[in-house]
């Protein structure tokens, strides 16, 4: 599967990542290679095989609806790059 530059741009936008334009060709090549490798899986006959959505065979891992002690406000905010005494602060989203 061939990745083109438009797809690369779209994926970068969706991941909110910037990249150096100079590296674009290499990235296109790498991504194509990765996808080709994954493509190999299509050679397997999976007719009648249900998709595997979870690596364990467990089902119905459920929790009773009980509220427990929350994480403390201070610890919750501890690792935030920017905060005030109440809130997480992030770059302005709306003008």
């Amino acid at each position: 599967m061939k990745i083109d530059k438009a797809t690369l741009q779209k994926i970068a936008h969706l991941a909110r990542l910037d990249f150096e334009e100079a590296g674009a060709d290499k990235m296109v090549a790498d991504m194509t290679e990765i996808l080709d490798w994954v493509e190999k899986l299509n050679e397997l006959d999976t007719d009648g095989v249900e998709p595997l959505t979870n690596m364990s065979a467990e089902q119905n891992v459920l929790r009773e609806d009980e509220a427990k002690e929350p994480l403390s406000h201070e610890r919750g905010l501890l690792n935030a790059p920017k905060k005030d005494s109440d809130y997480f602060r992030v770059p302005k989203v709306m003008e």
Binding site: T53, E66, G76, K82, K92
Partner: protein, 486 residues
């Protein structure tokens, strides 16, 4: 302005997406509490904040609440459920994805019946109901360089109810939402409060020439935080689209936001529009399988539904369709009435008390029936006093009832005795009053005896006045006729 003639050329097609916050104690995938109005960032956990290495665990009650809704809407309940990640970046979504259900919504199909303007019934078909988690809240304060984020709401369990594109007007959308609110309240799964955001609605709206086979491009309208605003936003959007089509413009598929101050919708076309959610199965949650046994136990615990109570009120209590409708409008009123009917056999009187004096009091003080000072047994006692002719209905409702409301710990009969409100049906007490009245109005008595039978009302009124409303009207009427015709 759009004239009616042009408008009538178009058919309106609306699909609604309604989010309801579930009334659980804890969050959808974590045990931090769900509470409204706490200090910012206090109902949080490492799972809610999306810290690496944490694992979500599904809240069993949230699943059961979603099942309740599906059962009430006659949806098919999906037995094998998985969860999916919906990927997008927004600061109030800490993980960078929302855990939702894409491929296997817990409920499929079904419908919600609404009353139409013409008095008929319309079944609004549902596409699906699925479970997901709410986001946090972002605040964009004027003059602040940053956006402030509060994660208390993040992870709150939601169901999203999606209708087929079968809603045909803003009024229908309004009625449908009210019906959803009534239903979630009856089911005890959501408080149904649109203003506080526990019930939210987005609308997909398009217009097409009547008779056309081709749907118009649909526009999604968000941010309508009251029932009235949903109606206003849809109404505005229909007009905008028809005017645009009439002017030869193309409608583009887009998301618009409703501005309640101007009553208009505004395009939100931003880079966010380019989102591609890239759903994939959530590998952190194991499949959820609903057995017959589990489904049956949820069915057995279903609270009474509005139409079940309506049916009972009409068929068992002999109420009119209209009265039953009014009494089942609110769940708490219906349950109070149910309780009242277990204490009296006079269901018609019970209905009249509910719709008259009781509702009057609640409306005047804007109280919910759960704060009504009288217990159903006390209202039943008032009914009994009237039925046994101890007080007249008018004295009971206009004198005794207000007094009882002021001293609800008292027995109604005790108040009636203390306030001298008991009805007089003793001939020895009533007859002297009748004689007085007859003596006071000799000319009228002559006219009556001459054939002007309509004057009976005047004499009745006089006797009642002199007895201070206490004379038993039936007895008085009988004695009065006898006295006049002597």
């Amino acid at each position: 302005m759009l004239n009616q003639e042009i408008r009538d050329k178009y058919k309106v097609v609306i699909g609604l997406e309604v989010h309801a916050q579930l009334l659980t104690q804890s969050k959808m995938y974590a045990s931090d509490p769900v509470e409204y109005g706490n200090l910012p960032n206090t109902n949080i956990s490492v799972i809610t904040l999306g810290h690496p290495g944490t694992l979500p665990v599904v809240n069993k009650r949230a699943v059961e609440y979603a099942m309740r809704m599906g059962i009430a809407c006659r949806s098919e309940i999906t037995r094998y459920n998985i969860f999916d990640r919906k990927n997008y970046f927004y600061p109030d979504l800490p993980k960078g994805y929302q855990v939702t259900q894409d491929k296997t919504p817990i409920c499929r199909g079904g419908f919600i019946a609404i009353k139409t303007k013409e008095g008929g019934e319309k079944q609004v078909s549902l596409t699906r109901i699925h479970m997901e988690e709410d986001s946090g809240k972002s605040m964009h304060l004027e003059g602040d360089v940053d956006t402030l984020v509060d994660f208390n709401r993040a992870g709150t369990p939601l169901i999203e109810i999606v209708t087929e594109p079968v809603v045909e007007s803003s009024e229908e959308a309004y009625v449908f939402l009210q019906e959803i609110r009534r239903l979630v309240r009856y089911l005890d799964i959501c408080d149904g409060n649109m203003e506080e955001g526990s019930l939210r609605c987005d609308a997909n709206i398009s217009v097409m020439l009547a008779g056309s086979e081709v749907y118009g491009k649909k526009v999604e309208v968000k941010n309508m935080n009251s029932f009235r605003n949903v109606q206003r936003a849809i109404e505005y959007e229909i007009e905008r689209q028809i005017l645009a089509v009439e002017a030869g413009e193309k409608i583009s598929s887009e998301t618009r936001t409703f501005d309640a101050t101007t009553g208009t919708t505004i395009s939100m076309r931003t880079k966010e529009e380019l989102n591609d959610y890239r759903y994939f199965p959530e590998p952190d949650l194991s499949p959820l399988v609903i057995s017959d046994e589990w489904l049956n136990s949820v069915k057995e615990q279903m609270p009474s539904l509005p139409w079940e109570l309506l049916h009972k009120f009409v068929n068992e209590y002999g109420l009119s369709e209209y009265d039953a409708q009014v009494l089942t409008d609110s769940k708490n009123i219906a349950l109070y009435f149910e309780e009242l009917c277990s204490q009296t056999r006079n269901y018609k009187a019970a209905a009249n008390w509910m719709m008259g004096p009781v509702k009057g009091y609640l409306n005047e003080l804007t109280l919910d029936i759960t704060n009504f000072p009288l217990k159903p047994a006390q209202v039943a006692e008032l009914i009994e006093l009237v039925d046994s002719n101890k007080v007249s209905f008018s004295v009971a409702s206009q004198k005794l009832y207000p007094l009882l409301l002021q001293q609800p710990q008292q027995k109604a009969i005790a108040i009636a005795e203390a306030e001298n409100l008991l009805q007089e049906s003793n001939e020895d007490t009533i007859l002297p009053i009748i004689e007085d009245v007859i003596a006071a109005w000799p000319e009228k008595v002559e006219e009556y005896r001459g054939g002007k039978k309509g004057l009976l009302g005047l004499f009745m009124g006089e006797v009642m006045k002199k007895s201070q409303g206490k004379a038993d009207p039936k007895k008085t009427n009988q004695l009065l006729r006898e006295a006049l015709e002597k």
